[in-house]
Amino acid sequence: MAQLTFREAIARGIAQEMRRDESIVFLGEDIGAAGGVFKGTVGLLEEFGGVRVRDTPISEQAILGAAMGAAMTGLKPIAEIMFADFFAVCWDIVVNEIAKSRYMTNGQMTFPLVIRSGNGGGLRFGAQHSQSVENWAMMVPGLKVVVPSNAVDVIGLMAAAIRDPDPVIFLEAKVLYASKMDVPEGEIVDTLGSAKVLRQGSDATLVALGAMVPKAIAAADELAEMGIDCTIVDVRSLVPLDTKTLLREITATGRLFTVEENPRLCGWGGELASIVSEEIFYDLDGPIVRITTPHIPLPAADALEDLAIPSIERIVTTVSKSMNS
């Protein structure tokens, strides 16, 4: 068992799969020689060579178009979009082309591809390099959406995403790149569409995603000291969504708090709240509460960014206030 950072886990997950399957290729800006702007792909060019690991021009439509064309003709490409905000310049390829083409062609084509991207705030990069865009991806029929919260999950979910025959948007919380944990040796393969219960409590269920997961865990520690015993569920996969686990854990405590980094409107917690009210309304003991980034572009200054993104403190106060009211 060795300590691995989240960023090292990216390269390890990709390498694990590329060793196994020659049809996997990887393309993106600065991913090869430079090892990625976040150093998430260090060593891949050296191990797999320039034919399988290819640096591209700054052409996001070309990167994703190439991934799509390669996927429909037998390869399993992994494409990197450096910052998730940049999806806006190639969203046509994602939404109109990759996501719709299997359905439109009556199942003639499949798109076994992964698009990975640095997502979200916390690094004081300002509004155009910090947005958490999981809700953009979640609302598109034809896309699977995966958001790991720790290094072990990065490897296992990356493997699952690459092996999945459908297009997967794989969002990496940039603020977690430096986080570390013990990672077992050997192959790690997880499954898409499985939420994970990280902590079982009796009073309230906190459902969190990506960078919000460690914050929810820290908040639960403080809440426990205040006598509020929380369950924590790491959603991990927005599509497919593990509603079985989520509904079971929410029913068990009777209270749901979502912790979301995406701006509030149409965030994933809104969808979850709707499912919960349709299906387990009478099991609830109080209102569903969403803790999100407000509906604003993200500010750059650390003081302001910290106010915008849900903090441990905001989670603690929101939950305790609501539980005690």
């Binding site: 290729v25 034919v51 290819r54 591209t56 021009p57 052409s59 996001e60 439509q61 070309a62 994703l64 178009g65 190439a66 991934a67 799509m68 064309g69 390669a70 996927a71 429909m72 003709t73 037998g74 390869l75 490409p77 046509d92 390829i93 109109n96 082309e97 083409s101 299997r102 359905y103 439109m104 062609t105 009556n106 199942g107 003639q108 084509m109 499949t110 076994p112 029929p141 034809g142 025959p165 459908d166 569409g193 599509v239 497919p240 969504l241 593990d242 509603t243 079985k244 499912i275």
Partner: protein
């Protein structure tokens, strides 16, 4: 089932007769599609290639069955030219269950992977990068397949065009970009909104490519240029950008009469109609009037048969609605 329209090598008379048959099939099919639109049997929209048949037929003749076509919403002709039978194409236009995609795609998205028709794309420019990806896959796997990507003159001013051209050039991809310059976008003349006179060819040098212009109303000329570019790409010589000058005889889509175009311009181009031109050439080269009439009757009969078969198709059932979002055939997003 109606016959298909693929052609063999058109360098000898037999090949040329085939190329005539192919062009004529595209012409008569499109005329029928127009009639059915006016009868309100083709719903939604459709974009015809009337007048542009020589490009689709000439390229298809130069391609191997394993090569790939990427087309736009104006894609009926490109789909048929690769050998897809008329009936499923027409049935798709009619929204019938015997349609090429069982009615799920429609006129603008004709696709037949088994014939190498890798999709018809209705977002301007989007399929150029996608064709690059297919070409990359052929290069990576060493299959010698070539991707041929067709688009209009109005499509050269969108970013995806430029991203794809540069990308194909730097990776030396086996892809041929074919601009069918019919002078018009929807209702705007492309020259009024384009910085250069030849919208595609004048951009070629920016990507280190040769500037190639061909008479798109001459199927033999198209075939020759296509064969050369495809051979080059197959041998690892990289991409080509070809601008084929042509004209659409009708409007942009649906029942558009195309009245924004001056009568003199339309008349000038009707005089260059690729099909009578090719017919006259065949007679010069020794084909008999009888031979040509026989072809014309066969093609007309094909269109009749396809019309009957398409109209006889069923209505797509509700079982199709939730199918094939995912590779497992379903559309479930939760457990």
């Amino acid at each position: 089932m109606s016959t298909t329209t693929t052609v063999s090598n058109p360098t000898d008379l037999e090949g040329k007769l085939n190329l005539y048959r192919s062009q004529l099939a595209l012409r008569l099919f499109e005329q029928r599609a127009y009639d059915l639109f006016l009868e309100n049997l083709v719903k939604g929209t459709s974009h015809l290639s009337l007048g542009q048949e020589a490009i689709a037929a000439g390229f298809a003749a130069a391609m191997r069955p394993t090569d790939w076509t990427f087309a736009t919403y104006r894609g009926h002709a490109h789909t048929l030219a690769r050998g897809v039978p008329m009936t499923p194409v027409l049935a798709e236009l009619l929204g019938r269950s015997n349609g090429l995609m069982a009615g799920k795609g429609g006129s603008m998205h004709l696709t037949s992977v088994e014939h190498g028709v890798m999709g018809s794309y209705a977002i301007i420019g989007a399929h150029l990068p996608i064709a690059c990806g297919a070409a990359w896959s052929a290069q990576y796997r060493g299959t010698e397949q070539v991707a041929v990507c067709f688009f209009g003159d109005g499509s050269v001013n969108i970013g995806a065009f430029h991203e794809a051209l540069n990308f194909a050039a730097i990776w030396k991809l086996p892809v041929i970009f074919v601009c069918e310059n019919n002078l018009w976008m929807e209702y705007t003349r492309t020259s009024e909104v384009t910085a250069v006179a030849n919208p595609a060819a004048d951009r070629a040098s920016a990507y280190g490519l040769e500037s190639i212009i061909v008479d798109g109303n001459d199927a033999d000329a198209v075939y020759e240029i296509a064969a050369a570019a495809i051979a080059r790409a197959r041998e690892g010589g990289g991409p080509s950008l070809i601008e084929a000058k042509t004209y659409r005889h009708g409007g942009h889509s649906r029942a558009d009469p195309g009245k924004y175009r001056p009568d003199s311009e339309v008349a000038e181009w009707l005089a260059k109609d690729p099909i009578p031109r090719y017919r006259a050439r065949l007679l010069e080269k020794g084909a008999s009037e009888e031979q040509l009439r026989e072809i014309e009757e066969l093609v007309a009969a094909d269109v009749e048969l396809a019309t009957e078969e398409a109209k006889a198709g069923g209505v797509p059932g509700e079982d199709l609605l939730m199918k094939d979002v995912w590779a497992d055939g379903g559309s479930s997003w939760r457990n």
